[in-house]
Symmetry: C2
Subunit: 213 residues, 2 copies
């Protein structure tokens, strides 16, 4: 009997997560969440008082799941090239397993940027101080050692993340326009990127490409 059945609260939470990610805050409906969870709508308000409160809880969880974790690699003292390879691989796995989350987060944050501070204390500072700053240090060192072409750490990290996330959030356009709605080709395209992105980035910043593994 290891099969611990989910509590009502958890059931609501995951049903609401699905609904919010599918439709966004504005498009999501409390009635539909209740339906997905197989419960009465009033129960939603019993556990989470308002739609906003329910959303906030979910947004924080999603954001936490998505931001850190994979940034740990950045703190190791491995070479930048290795860090980039491992980061891209791990981050793409996370994204490909949750392909609707990036556009969800992006949309909600653009719609209401005030939601970021709510999540700030918990994660953001952690990521900034531990992950990004260490990344910047490592980068600077390898630039000074003549291994990497000069580049701002902010530019490099945004480039890497852009290359990972964009192809997923722009799926309808890429699949539709470039691959003429051929799902298999789009899937193969995403798959290739697991190696392609790191190669592309490292090729760009390596001083001596011949020395690359």
């Amino acid at each position: 009997m290891t099969e611990q059945e989910k509590s009502t609260e958890e059931t609501i939470f995951s049903a609401a997560t699905d609904e919010f990610i599918d439709k966004g805050f504005d498009g999501a409906r409390m009635q539909e969440i209740a339906k997905r969870a197989g419960i009465n709508k009033a129960l939603l308000h019993y556990y989470y008082r308002t739609k906003e409160k329910l959303f906030d809880a979910i947004f924080e969880k999603v954001f936490k799941t998505f931001m850190p974790g994979i940034f740990e690699v950045m703190q190791s003292d491995a070479s930048m090239f290795y860090k980039i390879e491992v980061f891209v691989e791990g981050y793409l796995t996370l994204i490909y397993n949750n392909p609707h989350i990036p556009s969800f987060v992006i949309h909600e944050l653009n719609r209401n940027p005030d939601r970021l501070p709510l999540v700030f204390g918990s994660i953001v500072n952690q990521v900034k101080d531990k992950a990004f700053d260490r990344f910047a240090e490592s980068l600077k060192k390898e630039i000074e050692e003549g291994k990497i072409i000069p580049i701002e750490p902010e530019q490099l990290i945004v480039n890497i993340i852009a290359l990972c996330i964009f192809p997923v959030v722009a799926k309808p356009i890429i699949q539709g326009v470039i691959f003429e709605n051929d799902k298999a080709r789009y899937k193969a395209f995403l798959d290739s990127r697991k190696k392609e992105i790191a190669r592309f980035v490292i090729n760009s910043i390596a001083v001596n490409r011949d020395q690359i593994s």
Copy 2:
């Protein structure tokens, strides 16, 4: 008296454009559009029968404005490196002047991918046939000539567009997390990218970097 005052229909159209881009389809309110346009709500339905119809008209216009145009460079017979430089410069200008459009298009297309076919005939095929296929040709030739490292055209074009668009759609996160909400630093960051992106891409794919202008 060259100052042709906008027709009611145009006034509605642009008020609605603002509202939809700000709030998305689900968050937009017909009443608010009427208010922005300074007219009675019933007039909206007089000119555009439903919210959907109004949205469709706007989405198509926005999409058209954003997709082609800048892709013309791709059709010239200049060198790939030059094409990339010109494309990035022009595309960034377009994006920076309309920073909310990319996330709007991305969100609406993810929410309802069926909207792409609606716009298909007009633009998409044009872009695909004229711009992308020509781009792929040029790329292939320069790869065969040994000027450019082998790379799939789909990967390269998506990389370039990702590097242009992502920093704008992810503004809240980048400005908040990396630049600690310092607007000036974020702005400077975006500005740097006008040269940075082309440099980054060309560095990655050039066989012999020393020959780069």
